[in-house]
Amino acid sequence: MISTSSASSLPDHQRIVITGIGLTAPNGNNWTAYRESLLAGRSGVSRYEIRYVGKTLAGICDFDELRYQKRKEVRRGTRAGSVGIYCANEAIRHGGLDWENVDRAQVGIYVGVTEHGNVETENEVHALQGYGNDTSFWSHHHNPRTVANNPAGEISLNLGITGPHYTIGAACAAGNAGVIQGAQMLQLGECDVALAGGVSESIHTFGIFASFKSQGALAEHEEPMRASRPFDVDRNGIVVAEGGCIYVLERLDDARNRDARIYGELVGHAMNSDASDFVLPNPERQVECVDKALRRAGLAADQIDIVSTHATGTGMGDVQECKALRSVFDESATTHINNTKSFIGHAMGAAGALELAGNLASFHDGICHATINVDQLDDECRISGLVVNEPREMSRTDYVLNNSFGMLGINSVVIIGRV
């Protein structure tokens, strides 16, 4: 049974650390470039056009798909698969793993996704209309591209990993959920190296844009880079983004045995459910989730140096999260609060993992990046410690708490500590 004691009291073979980070975001294709963009206030949101919806905005990644894939593999697979393959390869390199000598049967792949298969299904339905809806023209690639494990499976094929692979469907809490799953599988001894995080190909499905628009939750702005504006009084919705972030997770003793550089330790985590609404978040349940993660970490709220918010820029979602944060952190004078979606939009299944990665560098550079595009703070989003528009230097960062919530009332929190 997995212990729920605070991480520091666990034996080293039950303590889980991050030893590699591979990512692509709309404003950076590796951890360093991404961090530079976040500190420079550089948004990755740009104009975008997609069938049926027309002109809109999105966070678009420009990583080189052919760095780790052949053209045939790109053609056969999915965008989510390519994102995952890029991030996994980058993470392995960044983590300094001696990959040729890693036992690939002992590597597990745990990839969070908000949704998968919509892109390919929409493409096939669209193409089929040109053939009079004759299903004999439906691609034989449709099933392998749309099975829910596809992004993780493509990583397995690309890297020759024969350990377990699957995706974790957890709406927009999926990035955190992937990390938690990877850590738990390491604690259970199901693998010795976990490639864990989340991916998003969501900008390639018109349905997600159309649905947010119908919900009144799709961001619009004349200046794309100012469209994603959580906490601002004029926020008007979500900017959909693609991206990915995969971590190399290992047990602390394994990481130390190979002299790996350690970027942080998963000292606490929690997931729970609102059980109250399909879309409206529930601050009481969010508080319970944060409290549970703090308890597991053996930490008080005022020991958290940075809270990375989930806020997406919707009217009610931001208010609900601020209510929750106010009740937990209002007395925490040294806790800083920021939001990464203001730079990159909402990277869906990748959001939690990417937003966490954006903050992990704070252990080394001692800076809390801001939430940008706040021209006039919404009074209902006023929370102490919110870092607005300009990054803030801190004396030291020991703990980062990362919120990630999703539709159907799924909540996730991870707390990473300095090692």
Binding site: K70, R71, K72, S136, F137, S139, H140, P144
Partner: protein, 86 residues
């Protein structure tokens, strides 16, 4: 379409399916799979692309006729002889 035009069409399809391969020395009388890295899904891509381009419904029992360039062209001539090359 002439046999030479059909050959060109099949070569185009193969180039799409196997974009990393050098197909310049493809031998007509040797099986595709012995010259190019193709699996069953790729082979189905050939069948699907012929269906999309020319509305040819190749029955599964005839798939073996598409083993090499020579056999493929021979098989397709009756289907495509009255089709104009676009």
């Amino acid at each position: 379409m002439t046999p030479e035009q059909i050959r060109g069409e099949v070569a185009d399809i193969l180039a799409d399916i196997a974009p990393d391969e050098d197909l310049s020395d493809l031998k007509d009388d040797v099986a595709f799979r012995d010259q190019v890295e193709l699996d069953s899904m790729d082979f189905l891509d050939i069948v699907m692309e012929l269906r999309k381009r020319h509305r040819i419904q190749i029955p599964e029992e005839d798939y073996g006729e598409l083993a090499s360039m020579q056999s493929t062209v021979t098989y397709l001539v009756p289907y495509l002889k009255d089709v104009e090359k676009v």
